[in-house]
């Protein structure tokens, strides 16, 4: 896996987070956090439970509005990012507690990811024949490519509510990929998986990063995986940044070790 990392061209900063602070009714979830993400890299965010990792992703794609700080995306400043802006700017994400549309089939779930690229209007769709159908078929082909890539052909017509956890995680990834994002935020993509499922998922993530050149921001608890696949790691603890470096450096950082082992400072 080390080879893939070295072959890629890591580019300029695409996403820059500056002095982000976020509080919920007086409780500080994030205090004054800054870090950047470079093009094509795999950037991991780690930290103990409650460190503010998911909140960080929610700030990046505009689900939460930070009280202070700004998000700079390809040089464009956003004091208030909204989920809609983020999606249009090419940011996709998956969720820690899978947020699939549980009443819909796998195919339909992934098709929703194409939503921004579908242009036919409501009247054309009501008539179906003509532009709406052509568009539907064109996007269906794209979605089938993703289904092939994730190896979930056999369940494409199954309602996602009936799928086991590991497969739901894959569908969640599939829906994000259908957006053809330039930046992909993954919130614990391997939580609750067994070793084989984790290997599959790691392979998918590396393939996406390698073949499509997608920049990836990843939250993960499995240190083995994180150290293996990420280029740089941000470490959060109680809403503060306590480390930001390459995997090897982070491993050696005493503050990080203390946070993980619970030793007193």
């Amino acid at each position: 896996m080390a080879e893939t990392v070295s072959e890629r061209q890591i580019g300029d900063v695409v996403l820059d987070l500056r002095n982000i602070s976020l509080a919920f009714g007086g409780v500080n979830a994030l205090s004054d956090i800054s870090f950047d993400v470079r093009e094509h890299e795999i950037r991991a965010i780690i930290g103990p439970n409650g460190a503010g990792k998911s909140s960080m992703l929610n700030v990046i794609n505009g689900v939460y509005q930070p009280q202070q700080g700004e998000v700079v995306l390809r040089g464009q400043r956003f004091e208030k990012m909204s989920p809609g802006h983020a999606a249009r700017a090419g940011i996709a994400r998956t969720f820690q507690n899978i947020a699939l549309f549980k009443g819909m089939s796998v195919l339909d779930n992934i098709m929703t990811g194409r939503n921004l690229k579908m242009k036919s209007n409501i009247l054309q769709q009501a008539v179906w024949w003509g532009p709406a159908q052509r568009e539907e078929l064109a996007h269906r082909e794209k979605v089938e490519e993703i289904i092939d890539f994730l190896e979930i052909q056999h369940i494409r017509k199954t309602p996602v509510g009936r799928l086991p956890y590991g497969l739901q995680k894959r569908v969640d990834l599939g829906r994000a990929l259908a957006m053809e994002p330039s930046i992909l935020l993954l919130d614990e993509p391997m939580a609750g998986m067994n070793i084989e499922e984790k290997q599959d998922m790691s392979r998918f993530i590396l393939d996406v990063n390698d073949q499509l050149g997608t920049t990836i921001v990843l939250i993960e608890h499995d240190m083995g995986v994180v150290m293996d696949i990420s280029d740089r790691i941000v470490v959060l603890d109680y809403g503060k940044k306590i480390g930001d470096d390459t995997p090897d450096e982070v491993r050696a950082n005493p503050e990080v070790i203390a946070a993980y082992l619970g030793a007193s400072h």
Binding site: F24, G25, S54, A99
Partner: protein
């Protein structure tokens, strides 16, 4: 000025009754997260039971004392409301733990239909009267302060007092007793409450029973004013804007919301109504609630909801 004050007071008194019905909504919502559309049907059901038992019991037991009949009928009607609460928990709520609010809301519509159908089958569907000895004659007060004084309906006044007393008692029950605290815990999180050993089923029976008693009191007051009839079931629809205004989780909110809606309805009917053809009270209350909803979705005193991802 005298006329304005009369309208205002009339509105406040009507508002107190709305508060009473709204209180039933709030109690159940707080303890089970269910928005109980059947509250109106419960008012009808309880009032029917009260009216009919007060009529039947003297015949069964062979006495003619009106007061005793009313007391016995109240006790029996309360027992009936307990059975209703128990059945609702047993047959419906227990199967819907942790369901979405929308499902629960629709289920209470079903319960409302059931109660209306069963109530009228058991107790009859005519107009019945409840006579608990409320004085009907209006009195003049404050003749010294206004020319002609203020005309106030004694019945309204007593009703408002009873409603206020009940509201106060329930607030104390919620704040001061162990059961009251358990109710609030259940409202916050079903599963968490269960895990610290609060018996969910019992709490629900209690809270639906308490809401049933509130419905009974409201039913008696409205019933003795207007007669017990099917239209009582629609008071739920009248009280709905009240809870939206006051906030679904707040007992004081129910009271103040009730007063605002009561006064707003009366004043708008008297001062705006004639300009647009009258009959605006119902939708005026809703529009008031709706406008409010857009600016403060949690109501005056409700708790703000934060979505987590």
């Amino acid at each position: 000025m005298g006329f304005f004050l009369e309208t205002l007071i009339g509105g406040l008194m009507a508002g107190m009754l709305y508060s009473l019905v709204a209180l039933g909504f709030v109690l159940i919502y707080k303890a089970s997260g269910v928005f109980n559309f059947a509250q109106g049907a419960m008012v009808l059901f309880a009032a029917l039971a009260m009216a009919r038992f007060a009529e039947w019991i003297p015949g069964w037991l062979g006495f003619e004392n009106q007061v005793l009949a009313n007391i016995l009928a109240f006790a029996v009607a309360a027992a009936v409301m307990f059975v209703v609460a128990w059945l609702i928990e047993r047959l419906v709520l227990r199967h819907l733990v942790n369901q979405e609010g929308a499902t629960l809301l629709m289920v209470t519509l079903g319960i409302a239909y059931l109660l209306e159908g069963i109530g009228q089958s058991l107790f009859g569907d005519n107009i019945y009267s409840i006579d608990v000895g409320m004085p009907k004659d209006p009195v003049l007060v404050l003749e010294g302060m206004f020319p002609g004084g203020l005309l106030i309906n004694k019945e309204d006044f007593i009703a408002a007092l009873i409603a206020a007393a009940l509201v106060a008692a329930l607030s104390l029950f919620f704040q001061k007793t162990a059961t009251g605290r358990a109710l609030r815990a259940v409202a916050d999180d079903h599963q968490a409450a269960q895990s610290i050993g609060i018996p969910l089923a019992r709490i629900w029976v209690i809270v639906w029973f308490v809401a049933g008693i509130a419905a009974l009191v409201a039913g008696i007051i409205w019933g003795s004013k207007l007669g017990v009839q099917f239209s009582l079931a629609t008071v739920a629809l009248r009280a709905l804007p009240v809870v939206i205004l006051g906030g679904l989780t707040s007992v004081p909110g129910a009271i103040i919301g009730g007063l605002i809606i009561g006064v707003g309805e009366k004043l708008s009917e008297v001062y705006i109504g004639p300009l647009v053809g009258g009959g605006i009270e119902i939708w005026f209350a809703y529009m008031l609630a709706l406008v409010f909803l857009l600016f403060r979705p949690q109501g005056l005193f409700g708790e703000k909801i934060i979505d987590r991802v």
